[in-house]
């Protein structure tokens, strides 16, 4: 089946999760959390969330503990940079 059935003559997208494609494919490293030093996980209170604040792709949840959606995480490593307790380590993907 070809693409003509989509009915469009130009490129457009509607706001939706994953509309830009599975950007997780782009990743060469992924973040791993050490919840024993992660502030909200350790204190069991909604606190810190610097990883959630700074994630440019909004793939980290504001939950206890914070979690990463690896379908869309591009592996930029900003979360790891901004984490004040060093709870996030970037780990190279296995190929």
């Amino acid at each position: 089946m070809g693409t003509k059935e989509c009915g469009h003559i130009t490129a457009s997208s509607s706001p939706a999760v994953g509309e830009a494609g599975r950007t997780g494919d782009w990743r060469v490293q992924h973040p791993e959390f050490n919840y024993s030093v992660c502030t909200p996980a350790k204190s069991n209170t909604p606190s810190c969330f610097r990883c959630w604040t700074f994630c440019p792709d909004a793939v980290i949840s504001k939950t206890i503990p914070p979690k990463v959606n690896l379908e869309y995480c591009k592996g930029c490593g900003i979360c790891s940079e901004v984490c004040p307790t060093g709870a996030i380590t970037m780990v190279t993907e296995e190929t």
Partner: protein
Amino acid sequence: MSSATSQKKNQSIRETRIMTANYAAAEAVKLCDVQVISAYPITPQSPVVEKLMEFIEQGEIDVEFVTVESEHSAITVCISASAVGARVFTASCANGLALMHEQLHWAAGSRLPIVMAIPNRAVAAPWNILNDQQDSISQRDTGWIQIYCRNSQEVLDSIIQAYKLAEDVMIPVMVCYDGYVLSHTLMPVEVPTAEEVKSFLPDYVPHTILDPDDPKNINPVTLADPRVNAEGVLCHGYFEIRYLLQEAHMRAIESVAKIGTEYGRLSGREYGILDHYRDEDADLLMVSMGSLASEAMDAVDRLRDEGMKVGIIHVRLYRPFPAEVVARAVQKTGCRGIAVIEKNVSYGYEGALCSDLKAALFDYDVPVFAHSYIAGLGGRDVKSSELYDALKKSCAYCDRPRDKQRKDQEWLNCRI
């Protein structure tokens, strides 16, 4: 009140008025219910916009005019306005048109039916404000349709048809006419009534609309391959979207002819893809675009009087290039050769029209010669006698054997 009444009365009868091609362009825009105009002044385009401003000031048209600081912004405003569903107009030429270049690709790729008037002018360097067609020819591959006009009447009629065409095939259209030679020359022009144009031109229905209630990202990064969107629909990759533009261009050739015929029923002036002058039995054809094709009529008459069978084919539609139509038209005359006289050059080769024409003749197996003449760059006057000399010179090649008919490119009246 009385002026409003007389104004209304004027709109209900056809009038023949004396006007320049620039004013004819403005009159056409006035008749087409254009909603947004954005343009930046550049000689010789300025009177188009000045006249439109006058219409707005006098309350004759209800248009949002957006003043901007450059041509790049002018076309960007047109793209945005067209994407939210407005019928839009702009005008530019020369270096101003060159400054629009990137956005011309955006307009065509977004399939927005923008109409732009181009009073053709030479592109610097060196600075020159006079006429040639290098400016629009340089925008040939941006994906816009290009129509060339021979007089003010054709400018008015072609802009009205351009909206119908653009909105039919969803491709932006440039209506090109020679700067000064046409843009500033007074000629009689019959102006159709507003009602007539309204009956000819339906409202603009956009294919995709930017609407806050239905948010969309238009022209997101689109990689080469098709992909499934969030709703699970397989969408085009960049390649497919570009193919659709090409497909629509090829379809537009037929649309131009259909719309030209329909306009003929409305106005009594039928338009086609080509215009012909005394070409039925010609041995030699002159092929050209714009005012040269009308100016050469005198030279052709003189040659005919002297017994030389010469005629003219004016290529009205340059992009999409009507290759089959042109090749068949040349074949039908039974001519032996062609002189392509044009006001542009694809540097390092020859006139752009000549190359396109030769490719069409080759493809449809029409074995006649085609000589490339470059004329009138930077407003260099092209006299009827010079056209006469050029055509006569090419005529002399008609009786030669096929392998002796090639002639080097020639720049008319180059005094180097």
